[in-house]
């Protein structure tokens, strides 16, 4: 079942939303349907991807090859519209391959800037942990600042710039694990995971009469660039009560005090968490944040920040959530 669509309190909120934004949220639901179509049986992953998109955050997908990371990223890029570029990271990838570079045009006798793949709305950085740290940091700077500096000149990136990075699990050969400082720039880390058995059979059945390399009819974009901007602005308007903020701080403090966690949640992580919770509330049709919104995004938001093994992180995060009381008093 789909939490986002079936939460029944999707009634008109007190703050009247403009017709444009409610229209925008309808389009988000269309995106959801398209993503679920692309990645069958992974409603919760789709939900988090949408949250990440609305929260204007970058997404890190960590999983083994062949689980549909790229499929998901492409489906998302196609829905959002705008430019989509893909970067296959290898150890010999150079920073200029990402940001772009200036070449001398003999005709105009001037240096011309050839923009790199970062000048797009959606960037899929495949196997980011196979690039060298130098290249990684060039990309991560672009993610953080939404601008690049080439030959002393600054170039602004698109305001909708959205990175979906994928990485293989750490233990794989030939990888350069992302340092914590750089992981912190991602809003979420998700893993797709294997599909359920019946979805896999359905997938096989669908593939029987289909040519493997058929040219996919590229579907039309659902959102225009401006619309996504509007929706992201709406997310920032979502109200967060005093008690919810105290709850977030208490959770962050608990993560810092936890004996099994070396470095707890940073203030930047806390800000991203609040934004993700706001996006979750909007997706549920609410214009205020509840502790459930906070908890719903706790796993992907904390997973990218707590330096622990993936298997342990789920237990650790649920321990954290269990250790802090949910506020049950109304905000003063």
């Amino acid at each position: 079942m789909n939490v986002g669509t079936k939460i029944p309190n999707a009634q008109p909120t007190r703050l009247a939303t403009t017709a444009g934004t409610s229209n925008g949220l309808k389009k988000i639901e269309k995106i959801r349907i398209r993503l679920e179509d692309a990645l069958k049986g992974k409603q919760d992953v789709v939900q988090q991807v949408l949250v990440c998109l609305l929260a204007r955050g970058h997404l890190l997908l960590e999983d083994r090859p062949g689980l549909g990371k790229t499929t998901l990223a492409k489906a998302l890029a196609s829905s959002v519209g705008g430019r989509f570029s893909r970067l296959q990271c290898t150890p010999d990838l150079l920073p200029s391959d990402i940001t772009g570079f200036s070449i001398f045009n003999a005709e105009t006798r001037q240096f011309e800037f050839r923009s790199g793949p970062v000048f797009s709305e959606v960037l899929l950085a495949d196997e980011i942990n196979r690039a060298t740290p130098r290249t990684q940091s060039a990309l991560l700077e672009a993610m953080a600042e939404r601008q690049v500096t080439v030959d002393g000149k600054q170039y602004q990136l698109s305001s909708d710039f959205f990175v979906i990075a994928t990485q293989n699990p750490h233990e794989q050969h030939g990888t350069y694990p992302l340092p914590e400082a750089q992981l912190d720039r991602f809003t979420m880390k998700l893993s797709v995971g294997y599909p359920a058995a019946d979805y896999e059979t359905a997938m096989l059945a669908a593939a029987v009469h289909t040519q493997t390399q058929t040219k996919e009819s590229s579907p039309s974009a659902i959102l225009t660039a401006g619309e996504l901007d509007q929706i992201q602005d709406l997310v920032t308007q979502t109200r967060v009560g005093n008690t919810i903020q105290q709850y977030l701080v208490a959770l962050a403090t608990a993560s810092r005090n936890h004996p099994d966690i070396d470095a707890g949640l940073s203030p930047r992580g806390l800000l991203l968490w609040q934004r993700a919770a706001q996006a979750t509330a909007q997706l549920a049709g609410r214009d205020f944040v509840t502790p459930d919104d906070v908890q719903q995004v706790a796993f992907p938001v904390l997973a990218v920040r707590l330096d622990v093994e993936a298997a342990d992180s789920r237990n650790l995060i649920s321990q954290l959530l269990e250790s802090v009381d949910v506020p049950t008093a109304p905000a003063p």
Binding site: R239, Q246, F288, P291, T328, P332
Partner: protein
């Protein structure tokens, strides 16, 4: 982030993590409540009336440990209690009611009095303890401290004058004052801390709040309006001042019957312990005897000869007769005028009690002993030449006269015990004292030469009479008869004294009777017991029967002819029978403190003029006198019980009480058992009732309070909302379970989740929407009622029984989106 900021954050986390801390002010608040309730006990409002140091400490330490245990339990296991006004009210009321009902039950069993003011104060004390146990919520400290102060000041104003100067009593006041001062300081600092870290919430009081004070203020204004303040009759008990003299009153002015009840501090009399040794014209002891038994026949005819006495005894007796001429009659004639004794009430004083006694009962208070009997008349025992030296020592600030009695290991004595005796209305210089007296104490009398021997084993003061209202403390060591029974009787016969007997025919007949009664019995206690048993069983006590004295030997007349008579004939016969078997014995007169006169509310036993009594004493081994009670209907004080015997006695008492009131005790027991079994359900019903009453008052249901009620209900059922799970998620989880169960039972019923959904949305909006204005413009009745029905006790209890998985909270977090 600065270090200070971090510490604040840590504090904030700690506040939500684990049970709330009870700060210094919380502990002090608790301490003040404990001290105040100790003061209630000390003032005698508690179960122990009035307090003696040991019982006082036991009672107040028990209460203190109950209070601390309860408050720590609440803090650890139910920290939410007392966090809101409603929950504070509910808690204080339930503690009050539970505490009060337990205490009422104890009062019934302990036969403690139900004094109006003490019950009211106990109620207040319970409210105070209830509030103090939740003092970890700063909100509750103010009311608790205010109540403690009132209770303490009220109780300490009622302290007995005798205890106010004692160190433990003073330390109570000092401890209370010190804790309240530190509390003020601690409260100030803690509030400062709270103010710095959080906002101050201004709650709006309803406009009519000051109107609550009107009923209090109005009576105070009455005197201005020239009205008279009179307590409603029967509402507040009073001991006098009018016609309404209630036995429940503690003191008062006028002629109520409790005027002399207090031991030390009586309002209309002078204080007892330090009363002036005043002169008075009250009747003497001998008038009392004559009032009760009628006067002597002075025209007595001695038909039977009496053997001549030894010269020295005779001389002593003569001396004694001379002394008598100064002090009035000192013989005790067993032949008295016939007719009903005129029980003349002594009217010049408000109480007709001669003496008040505090201590174990029944008690024989000896005033005079007689040795020589001539067949009709007893002669008082003369003073021997050599008497133990009197000395004084001081024990815990009291002068104690020591009678020079030394005990040796192997003595058959029980532990010493103390009786307090207040002489109200009796003219005698003798100390009415129990047998085996070891010490006498009169406050302020610190000179041994104030006392003198009046008779062997009888002490008097060296003046005409004891001043009225003197309080005496007498210490005695009973001879433990049970120990004597284990010994052989050889020691009993050792003494040559107290064995006067004559050779007359009557006496021979009496000896034969005694031998017949004791035939086959071992010498010693067995024989004495046999004689007493025969006297008590075969003869009739008749206060109005009189010996004629015609036979010249009242004992033989009583034993063989009339077989009925007053107690002095029983006593005389007992002595004569014992002496016929060569047991040393004597005839004793004095007072008998009857257990049925005991007044539970004061702890005192009055001795009236009717309580004059005669009995016998037997001498065992060298110098242990033992009280014998030949008269039927009288009993002898047994030695103090050991701990195990006392426990057995209490068990027996409980058992007999239960048997005596089988219906009420079984009803009480079953009510207790049933309310214990269904305690959670009962509390839940009360909780929901409060919610509904509030809804009626406010004309709307409070969504948040409904949510909290359901939250508490889940806890009571056994499905507490796990930590870190939001109410919505948990209630939805439970609703799913209820739904799936209903589907199995009856699939046609409507989906309960649908009806509960508006409530859940409303709750979330109340709790988390900062822009939400708390004006319930539409009726919340329907969703709240739907919610109460949805998560009803029955539904929750059903899923609690059937599902164990619900309790695994981990499950909720690991599958957050599948709920």
């Amino acid at each position: 982030m600065s270090a200070k900021g971090n510490s604040h954050l840590n504090k904030a986390v700690k506040a939500t993590d684990g049970p709330p801390k009870r700060g210094l002010s919380g502990w002090l608040c608790l301490a003040m409540a404990i001290i105040a309730s100790a003061a209630v006990d000390a003032a005698g409002f508690g179960l122990v009336v009035p307090p003696e140091p040991r019982t006082f400490w036991t009672a107040s330490l028990t209460l203190a440990s109950i209070t601390i245990g309860l408050s720590e339990g609440v803090r650890r296991f139910a920290p939410s209690i007392g966090s809101t006004t409603n929950s504070r009210r509910l808690w204080a009321i339930s503690i009050t009611v539970i505490g009060f009902s337990v205490e009422m039950a104890l009062r019934v069993f302990l036969e403690a009095p139900h004094l109006m003011d003490s019950l009211l104060l106990t109620l207040l004390r319970n409210v105070m303890i209830g509030l103090a146990t939740v003092s970890h919520h700063p909100l509750n400290q103010g009311p608790s401290v205010a109540l403690s102060t009132f209770v303490f000041v009220f109780s300490s104003a009622c302290f007995d004058s005798s205890i106010t100067t004692l160190p433990w009593c003073t330390s109570l006041s000092v401890a209370f004052a010190v804790s309240s001062i530190i509390w003020l300081g601690a409260r100030y600092w803690e509030r400062l801390d709270i103010t710095l870290t959080s906002k101050i919430v201004h709650t709006k009081r309803p406009w009519w709040t000051p109107a609550l004070a009107i009923p209090l203020v109005l009576p105070l204004l009455l005197p201005i309006a020239r009205g008279r303040l009179i307590a409603t009759e029967g509402w507040l008990p009073t001991s006098g001042g009018g016609d309404d003299a209630s036995p429940m009153a503690r003191d008062g002015i006028g002629n109520g019957d409790l005027l002399v009840a207090g031991l030390d501090n009586i309002r209309s009399f002078a204080p007892i312990e330090n009363a002036p040794f005043a002169a008075s014209h009250d009747p003497t002891l001998y008038d009392v005897f004559d009032d009760s038994y009628n006067e002597n026949f002075f025209s007595k005819k001695k038909r039977q000869k009496v053997i001549s006495l030894a010269p020295e005894i005779r001389a002593l007796a003569e001396n004694h007769r001379m002394a008598k001429s100064k002090k009035g009659s000192r013989e005790f004639s067993t032949v008295r005028k016939p007719g009903k004794a005129k029980s003349k009430a002594i009217t010049n004083i408000d109480s007709n009690a001669l003496i008040y006694v505090r201590g174990r009962l029944p008690l024989h208070l000896k005033l005079e002993s007689f040795d020589i009997y001539d067949g009709v008349e007893w002669s008082a025992e003369p003073l021997p030449a050599k008497l133990p030296k009197l000395s004084l020592d001081t024990v815990s600030d009291r002068p104690w006269l020591r009678l020079g009695v030394h005990t040796k290991p192997g003595d058959p004595h029980a532990v010493p015990e103390i009786h307090s005796i207040k002489v109200i209305n009796l003219k005698t210089n003798r100390v009415p004292a129990p047998i085996q007296l070891t010490g006498v104490s009169i406050d302020k009398i610190n000179r041994a030469d104030f006392f003198r021997w009046e008779q062997p084993d009888i002490i008097g003061v060296d003046r005409d009479s004891l001043p009225e209202l003197t309080t005496l403390h007498v210490q005695s060591r009973l001879v433990d008869v049970r120990k004597l029974k284990e010994r052989d009787g050889s020691g009993i016969l050792s003494k040559k004294q107290y064995r006067q007997f004559d050779d007359g025919e009557s006496s021979h007949r009496i000896r034969r009777l005694a031998e017949r009664w004791t035939f086959g019995k071992k010498k010693g206690w067995e024989q004495i017991d046999a004689i007493m048993k025969h006297l008590r069983e075969e003869y009739t006590l008749d206060e109005n029967a009189r010996a004629t004295g015609d036979t010249g030997h009242t004992v033989s007349e009583f034993l063989f002819e009339t077989k009925r008579g007053p107690d002095y004939l029983f006593a005389t016969s007992a002595v004569w029978l014992l002496r016929s078997l060569a047991y040393p014995a004597r005839f004793v007169t004095g007072f008998y403190a009857r257990p049925d006169r005991y007044e539970a509310r004061t702890g005192l036993t009055p001795i009236l003029a009717d309580d004059v009594h005669c009995w016998a004493e037997v001498l065992v081994e060298r110098d242990y006198w033992v009280t014998l009670e030949p008269s039927p209907g009288y009993a002898v004080l047994l030695p103090p019980l050991s701990f195990a015997e006392r426990i057995a006695g209490i068990m027996h008492l409980l058992y007999t009480k239960l048997l005596r009131h089988p219906f009420s005790s079984s009803a009480l027991l079953s009510v207790l058992v049933i309310s214990f079994i269904f305690r959670r359900r009962i509390v839940d019903i009360a909780d929901v009732s409060i919610l509904r009453i509030n809804a009626v008052i406010n004309r709307n249901f409070s969504t948040l309070n409904t949510m909290r009620t359901i939250d508490r209900r889940c806890q009571r059922v056994g499905l507490p909302r796990p930590k870190g799970v939001s109410p919505r998620r948990w209630l939805k989880h439970l609703a799913d379970a209820i739904h799936s169960q209903r589907e199995q039972a009856s699939p046609t019923e409507p989906d309960p989740q649908y009806s509960a959904e508006p409530f859940m949305c409303s709750v979330e909006r109340h709790l988390y929407d900062p822009a939400f204005l708390n004006t319930e413009e539409q009726s919340t009745r329907a969703p709240c009622i739907a919610a109460l029905n949805m998560w009803s006790w029955r539904n929750l209890a059903a899923i609690n029984r059937s599902s164990g998985k619900l309790k695994q909270t981990h499950y909720l977090f690991l599958h957050p989106h599948h709920q």
